[in-house]
Symmetry: C3
Subunit: 314 residues, 3 copies
C-alpha cells in the first residue's frame, strides 16, 4: 500500500467516482488508506485542515438525504473547501430545465467537484460526460452508492483488520438497493465471500452472476457469516405486490437476536440507515454496542468522503 500512496492510482486514471464497478483494487485501497488518516482528525478537538482551500464543491441533491448530504458537507468544510449545497426541489428544474442544463450551468461556475444524488440510475455518468470537474456519485437510482460501500469497507477493516477471507451477508431489499450493488462489487473485489438474502420478490434475477450466493432463508444465508449487513426496507415497497405486510417481513427477514445466532459467534451488524426499527431490524439489536456498527459507519463515512475529496480533487 506504500507504493500505492507514492504513485497515486487515482491521479493517473479517470477523475470521477461514479461507482465501485469503475474502480480498480488499487484505487479502492488508496481511498481506504487515505481515509484512515482522517478518522483521527475527526475525533480530535480541531477538525479543520486547509488542504483544499480555494476549491469549490457543489452538492447537487435531487433526492432528500440527511446523512449522505451532511457527511459530504462536513467533509468538504473540514478540508477548507467552499461548499454549496443545492436541494433541487426548490429550483430551476421546476421551471423545466433539464439535468444537463442545470449541470452545465453549475459547471460554468468552475466548481472543482460536483457531488450528485439522483433518482435515475446513470445520472452521474451522464453528468460526468458534460462537465470538466470531478463528479462523485452520492447514490443514483438502483445502481450504485460507492462512498457507502467504501465507508462500510473501512468500518469492517477498522474492526476486523482486513476484508480478505471474510463472509459477508447482505439482507433485505436487494432488488432496489444501490447500497447492495456497490457493496457486492467492493466486498468481492477486496476478497470477501458474499451471501445475499431476500424474499423472492425482492431478489434480482441473475444476481448470482455478480459472484454472490443467493438465499431466501435467513438461517442458511447467515450461516458462518462474519458481517451481517441489513438493508433499509422502503415503506413504499410495503404496499403493492412486493410484500404481504411489515409484520410478516419482520417475521422472516427482520434481524433479531435469535436470527443473528445463525451467523458466527462474533458476527457484527451493519445498516446504511435510516433504520426501520421493528421492520428490518430489532430495535434493541440496532443499539447494542457490542454488535452494531451503525454509528461507526456514519462516523467513518465523513473520513471516507474527505479521502475522496482529497484524492479526486485535481
Amino acid at each position: 500500500m506504500a507504493t500505492a500512496k507514492k504513485v497515486s492510482a487515482i491521479k493517473n486514471t479517470p477523475k470521477h467516482l461514479l461507482g465501485i464497478q469503475n474502480l480498480s483494487v488499487l484505487e479502492a485501497k488508496e481511498i481506504l488508506t487515505e481515509a484512515k488518516s482522517f478518522i483521527k482528525l475527526n475525533r480530535g478537538s480541531s477538525k479543520k485542515l486547509d488542504i483544499l482551500r480555494g476549491k469549490t464543491q457543489i452538492n447537487l441533491f435531487f433526492e432528500p438525504s440527511t446523512r449522505t448530504q451532511s457527511s459530504f458537507d462536513l467533509a468538504g468544510k473540514r478540508l477548507g473547501v467552499d461548499v454549496m449545497t443545492m436541494n433541487m426541489g426548490n429550483s430551476a428544474l421546476k421551471k423545466g430545465e433539464t439535468l444537463i442544463d442545470t449541470a452545465m450551468t453549475l459547471n460554468a461556475m468552475h466548481p472543482d467537484i460536483i457531488v450528485i444524488r439522483h433518482q435515475d440510475s446513470g445520472a452521474p455518468n451522464l453528468l460526468s460526460q458534460k462537465v470538466n470537474c470531478t463528479v462523485i456519485n452520492a447514490g443514483d437510482g438502483r445502481r450504485e452508492h460507492p462512498t457507502q460501500a467504501l465507508l462500510d469497507a473501512l468500518t469492517i477493516i477498522n474492526r476486523k483488520d482486513s476484508i480478505e477471507g471474510l463472509k459477508i451477508a447482505i439482507c433485505g431489499d436487494i432488488l432496489h438497493s444501490r447500497v447492495a450493488r456497490s457493496n457486492i462489487y467492493l466486498m468481492n473485489m477486496l476478497g470477501a465471500e458474499v451471501n445475499v438474502i431476500a424474499p423472492k420478490t425482492l431478489m434480482p434475477r441473475g444476481i448470482d452472476n455478480l459472484g454472490v450466493k443467493s438465499f431466501t432463508d435467513m438461517k442458511k444465508g447467515l450461516d458462518g457469516c462474519d458481517i451481517v449487513m441489513m438493508l433499509r426496507l422502503q415503506n413504499e415497497r410495503m404496499q403493492g405486490s412486493f410484500l404481504p405486510s411489515k409484520r410478516e417481513y419482520y417475521e422472516f427477514f427482520g434481524l433479531t437476536p435469535e436470527k443473528l445466532k445463525f451467523a458466527k459467534k462474533d458476527a457484527l451488524l451493519m445498516h446504511p440507515g435510516p433504520m426501520n426499527r421493528g421492520v428490518e431490524i430489532d430495535t434493541k439489536l440496532a443499539d447494542d454496542i457490542n454488535v452494531s456498527l451503525v454509528k461507526e459507519q456514519v462516523e467513518l463515512g465523513v473520513a471516507v468522503r474527505m479521502a475522496c475529496l482529497k484524492l479526486y480533487c485535481k
Copy 2:
C-alpha cells in the same frame, strides 16, 4: 463578576444549555458578561474572530425559523465555526427515522455543538442524553427558549444597567409561550418582579407558583412596570376556543400608546418577533425608536449566541 470570569461557572457544570431552569445565577451572568464583548465586534467593520475554528456546529431545526436560525448561523460563522444547518422538513424523518436516530447519526459525525429547535417540549433534553456534544436549546414546544430570555436580559441591561429591582410585564399568550417561561425564570433569577397578563383562556393554571403575579387586565398588570414584553399571538389560536376574534383581542390585550401609559413613564417595549401588527401590538408603537427595543433584541441576540457558543464549546 470578575471572579465569575476567572473561574468559569459553565466550564465546571453540565455542558448543555437546555433551559434557564437548569442555569445558576453565576452561569447566566457569565453568559451576559461574555455577550457584551461581542456587541462591539458585531457593530464593527470586520465581524470575524477565529476562536472556534476547527469546531463544527449543526443547526437542527424541526420548526421553521427566520431569526433564531439566522442568529445562530451568523454567530457560529463569525467565530470561525463550520456551520451546517438542517431544515428537517426535507429529511430522513420523512422516511420514518426517529429524532434519536437522527441525533445519533449527526453525533457520529463529531459535531461540537447541536443547536436544536423542536415542536415537542423536552426534545433537547432527550437529545442531550444521547449525544456527547453540547446541546443548545433554540426553543422546544411550550417549555423553554433560553437564548431568547438571555438576549432579552442583555437588551434590558444595555438600557437600564441592571435587572435587579425592575418591574417587568409579560403580556399575551402565556399558556403556549416558551419565551414567557424562560423569561419568567431568568428575570426572577436576576432580581426583577414579574407580572404576567393574559386572557383567562391563555393563562396557565398555577402560574403564580412560578413567582409571578397574574392579571387579566392590562391596566392593573402594567401598573408601575419598567419593561413591557409583548408575546406573539399565534394565528392558529385565533380560531377555536381560545379567543373570540383578533379585533377583540387587540381591544383588550393589544399594546397601544394608550395602554402603554399604564406603565411607568419611561417604560420600554419588547417583542420576541415576528410581530402581528394590529393584533398584539399597535404598528406605530412597534416602530417607535424611543420606546421599542425590538431591533436591539435581534442585534444583541447574535452577541448572546456567540457567547453561548464560546462558553459551551469545550
Copy 3:
C-alpha cells in the same frame, strides 16, 4: 478607465445596486473593469481571495433560483465573506411577517450586504430605505435584474471588445422581462443600438420611449444584429390570452438556425437561462459553441457578482 479606478465612482455615490437605471456610465464601467480581473481567478486552481473576510452577506430569495443564487453564493464565499442564504418559502413570512419586518430583523444582525430577489417590482428599493447595509437587486418583478445585464455586457465585451456601435436584438417576452429592461438600459448606455422583438401581446406599450426599435417580425428585427438575446418564455404565459400555443410561438419567435441567418454572419446568441429548448430556442443552436454564449454568461456572472460585492461593500 484608469481614472475611474483611482477615484471610484461607486464609493462616492449611493451604496445600493438597485437597477441599471440608477447607475452612471462610469459606475457601470467600473464594475465591468473590476469583474475582468475575477474571470482569471475563477478559472484558476485556487479560487479564493480573502479581501472581504469579516463581512456578512445575506441572500434573501423570495423566488426560487438556481443560477443567480448560486452565483452570488459562490461569489461571496470566494471573497471570504460569511454567506447566509435564506429561501423565504420556509420562513417567518408564513407566520405573517412583512417584508420590511424581515428585512429589519436581518439588518439588525449587521450584514454588510443583502442580496434580494422578490416577485414584486420595487421591493429592493423599499428594502434599501429601511436598512443601513448595501442592497443588491437580484431580480424584482418585471422591473430590473441589473447583475444579469452587467454579466451580459461583460460577456459581449469579452468577445467583441466593446459594446459601442453594436446592434443588439432582444427577443421574446419583453412585457414580463426584467432582464429585457435592465439590458435595454445598459446596452443603450454603453452605446449599442437595441431592437426588441416580440408578439404584440408580449410587447409593452410605449417601449419605444426607452430608446429601442420594436418589431413583431424576427426577420426585420434581427436584420444586421451582432448579438441576439433570447428571453425565457415562462410556461405560465402559454395558457391564457398571451399566446396561442408553444408550437406557434416556436414557429414565429423561436430562434432556429434559419432565423439566425437574418442577423449578421458572425452574430452571437445569448440567453439568461433557464432555457425552454424547443420553445424559444432550437436545442442544437443552444449548444453550438461557435454561436452560443450561454455558458460564458454563467461563468462571467460569478465574476460580475464578485466585482459588485467588492465595490459595494464599504
